[in-house]
Amino acid sequence: MDFGLRANTTTSSWTGFLLALPLLLFLAAAVVWPIGHLAARALTTEGGAALRQVLAAGRYRTALVNSLALSAAAALASLLLSLGPAWVLARERFRGRDLLRTAISLPLTFSGVLVGFLMVVLLGRIGALPKAIGFLTGREALAGAAYTFAGLFVAYLYFEVPRAVVTLESAFRRLPRELDAAARTLGAGPVERLVKVMLPVAAPALRSTLAVTFSASMGSFGVALILSRRFTVAPLEIYTEMTGFLNDDVAGALCLLLALATLAVDRLLAVRRR
């Protein structure tokens, strides 16, 4: 009996390993090898010098700090903005729910460059919004906002909010309905139930939503490529170093630090989950 169970476990873990093998090989080729390559490069004289150059005060470090700040802000804001819609989608039944869900997740299919152009059309110098404001109030406002930090931030929200809604909705769906029902029986209103019961239970899901949106923002490139005028982010500097200056060492060092920073924040959010 005991033997049988053990044998069984071994078989299934082997099957699991075999099933996971293609993904493991892919990860080795697409993640471990490049990061290892970059890390090994950072240990060489040139690589080390580039790393120090990136970490010293200046454009590169600013870009990394900007990336961290913008991604954290976008992750937090998109979490707050998506709580309500995700809750409604997960818990309420109403006509047009599927349509609403589709509409919300549509931006996920757009590439960053496309989102950038969308912002230009919306908030550019002759954007639709400035024109509309001008028509209504007689005085144009927000013209060219697309190229400012605010424009960049809104563009990030544009693709992070759907991501957060999708992640949160499925988490909210898995929450035990009995808890909600019990709280209701005890006389808690909808807001109280959300804040005092559901959110604490959903805390791990909130943290993983933050991790997902944060990582996506850290790696995002196309939006900043189109919109960034002065505010720079790490992926943009990597592009400039690679294409404008053929400076592989600095580009590699930036890549490595960007990846490590993203992993560190994700780990932090995951550790607190326990």
Binding site: R59, V120, R125, I226, T240, G244, F245
Partner: protein
């Protein structure tokens, strides 16, 4: 017999397929809206059946890609603004080739060994969408551009992306009194201009200018003429009163080109009158004398305007490229806040 026939058919169709596959020339920096590459490559396809697919890289990016692929080249040829092509040749990314019609290219516009040669020339100008100016007058000089009335209305490409803009930045520095090692005068001017600049694009904003998103684009004059005469946009091309710079646009045969024979035929053809006239449709001036169509010539600004356009030394420009681009990134694009 039938089996034999079908075998022959099969083999010949495979061969035909392979041949059809081979009929391609890869050109880095082949932007359809720039210098009418779209029209030129379409005409070549029509005449020969050979496809030259569009490619969105600017000069600098094209050179970077060639450098990365040095061991296993993917491209057959590349197109650059002069200094970047000169630099790419200097890096050993090209192999010598003298296309047919070589002797017709003026000596200053080609490498004596055939590492690069000019296909057409252009001049830096203000491309002004007059309807988008919002009542402001058309700027006539570099000093005009600094006026507050143009705030948010000017754009020029990021010089680390495109060679046209590198030509602009280098030329301006010379015009303002700098030289290939002394960038302060140019950077000082561009810093003041920065107050009026809405963006430093790293993609073609040709359509943005047409729509009026960008009222003033400092770029190749040919792009402005094309907007005016081909797209019918309310665009005026201005040669600034203090002077401007000419820009040879050059090509070279990539070392180890995968479709070398086909690429040579294509490069030969680009210097023939029909190809040169096709470039001229985008108002980039043919390098081969006598191929500029009359109706195009009559639409250009009068010759006296172009007297103010000076030629730049490609060798000095190439030598200064990295340092000047870095100075621009540090001082103009800013420390990134």
């Amino acid at each position: 017999m039938i089996r034999k026939l079908s075998l022959v058919l099969a083999i010949s169709s495979i061969a035909a397929f392979a041949a059809a596959q081979e009929k391609v020339v890869i050109q880095y920096d082949c932007i359809p809206n720039y210098a009418n590459w779209g029209g030129v490559t379409a005409l070549y396809k029509q005449l020969t059946g050979v496809t030259v697919p569009p490619d969105p890289k600017g000069s600098s990016v094209a050179m970077a890609a060639l450098e990365k692929e040095k061991e296993a080249p993917q491209a057959d040829t590349a197109y650059y603004s002069g200094a970047i092509g000169f630099q790419a040749a200097g890096k050993g990314l090209h192999e010598p080739y003298k296309p047919k019609g070589w002797e017709k290219i003026p000596a200053a516009l080609k490498d004596p060994n055939g590492l690069w040669w000019t296909v057409h020339t252009s001049a830096i100008a203000f491309v002004v969408n007059t309807r988008a100016l919002g009542g402001a007058p058309v700027p006539r000089s570099w000093q005009d551009l600094l006026k507050p009335v143009y705030k948010g209305k000017i754009a020029y490409d990021d010089p680390t992306w495109g060679g046209t803009s590198y030509t602009l930045v280098y030329g301006l520095n010379e015009l303002m009194g700098g030289n290939e090692t002394h960038f302060k005068p140019g950077i000082a001017y561009l810093k003041r201009l920065d107050a009026n600049v809405s963006s430093y694009p790293r993609e073609s904003i040709y359509n943005g200018v047409l729509r009026g998103e960008v009222p003033i684009w400092i770029n190749a004059d040919g792009n402005g003429y094309k907007m005016k005469y081909v797209d019918g946009a309310p665009v005026e091309v201005v040669i600034p009163s203090e002077g401007t710079f000419t820009m040879p646009l050059v090509m070279g045969l990539v070392k180890g080109a995968p479709h070398k024979a086909e690429a040579k035929r294509y490069l030969d053809w680009l210097l023939t009158p029909p190809a040169q006239a096709e470039f001229a449709k985008a108002y980039f001036l043919p390098v081969v004398p006598g191929t500029l169509p009359k109706e195009i010539a009559s639409r250009l600004l009068p010759e006296k305007e172009y007297k103010r356009a000076r030629a730049l030394d490609l060798a000095k420009m190439a030598a200064a490229a990295d340092a000047l681009k870095k100075a621009w990134v540090d001082e103009i694009r800013g420390s990134g806040r």
